[in-house]
């Protein structure tokens, strides 16, 4: 019963990751790609717990899941700091809106 539930959950998680992979490949901006990578990385922690259930070694795989969640968070923060120009908020609001790039409809 437990194994069947784990297999069904893992298979449907993998199937539901396909649209997010599409967004990573075809995303119009780089931020869409980072967002998709972040979502898939969070779901990998769940899949690691599922794999641990199937191998009967959950106590070991839970530690992997903790490490993976930590790495995922650090990666997202590092990428957003890299793109961040650290302008003060007041200066950003004073900027003319015309200088901003419009999103393509």
């Amino acid at each position: 019963m437990k194994e069947l539930f784990a297999i069904i959950m893992g298979a449907s998680l993998l199937v539901l990751m396909i649209p997010i992979l599409y967004r990573i490949i075809a995303g119009p901006t780089g931020f869409d790609r980072i967002l998709g990578v972040n979502v898939i990385g969070t779901k990998t922690a769940v899949i690691l717990v599922i794999i641990g259930t199937l191998f009967d070694r959950v106590d070991m795989f839970v530690d992997f899941a903790i490490a993976y969640a930590l790495l995922n968070f650090v990666g997202a923060i590092v990428v957003s700091r890299y793109f961040n120009r650290t302008v003060p908020l007041q200066e950003m609001e004073d900027r003319k809106p015309r200088s901003r790039r419009r999103a393509k409809a």
Binding site: M9, M17, P28, N38, V46, T53, L70, F83, R85, A103
Partner: protein, 139 residues
């Protein structure tokens, strides 16, 4: 029903009705998490704008991960030994960690995108989109 609930704390084997109740709750939480993740996947593909996609991804991803991990923590438990409790506490630790960090990274990404001059869709863009959709459906 009252007997079943009262028999939860001291069950003997993994097949007793108390454990069946706990495992059913865990499986229900896992399936609810899958439903929320379906919403995330559909939103990531269908929404027109980066900020709307981030709305779908941030909220649905956080809630679905928390529900699925808690459900698996309940499904995995089979007795009240110390290792089993430690496992549940570790999984709840991951849940707490994700509850704190996924909104934080969403916020950092949103801020970085806004400072990188990425603009959300305005009213005129939506009008243009709707007009294009109408003409394409007529042809």
């Amino acid at each position: 029903m009252i007997e079943v609930i009262a028999s939860v704390p001291v069950p003997e084997s993994a097949n007793s009705p108390g454990w069946f109740l706990v495992h059913s709750i865990g499986m229900g939480m896992g399936i609810l998490g899958l439903v929320f993740f379906l919403g995330t996947a559909v939103g990531m593909v269908r929404f027109p704008d980066f900020y709307t996609r981030m709305h779908a991804a941030g909220k649905g991803d956080t809630l679905s991960t928390m529900l699925m991990l808690t459900g698996f923590g309940l499904v995995i438990m089979e007795d009240f030994s110390i290792t089993s409790w430690l496992l549940l506490v570790k999984i709840l630790g991951i849940v707490l960690f994700i509850f704190l960090t996924t909104p934080t990274s969403s916020h950092a990404l949103m801020r970085a995108a806004f400072e990188d001059d990425e603009m959300p869709l305005g009213k005129n863009d939506l009008k243009k989109l709707r007009r294009r959709l109408n003409t394409s459906s007529e042809k």
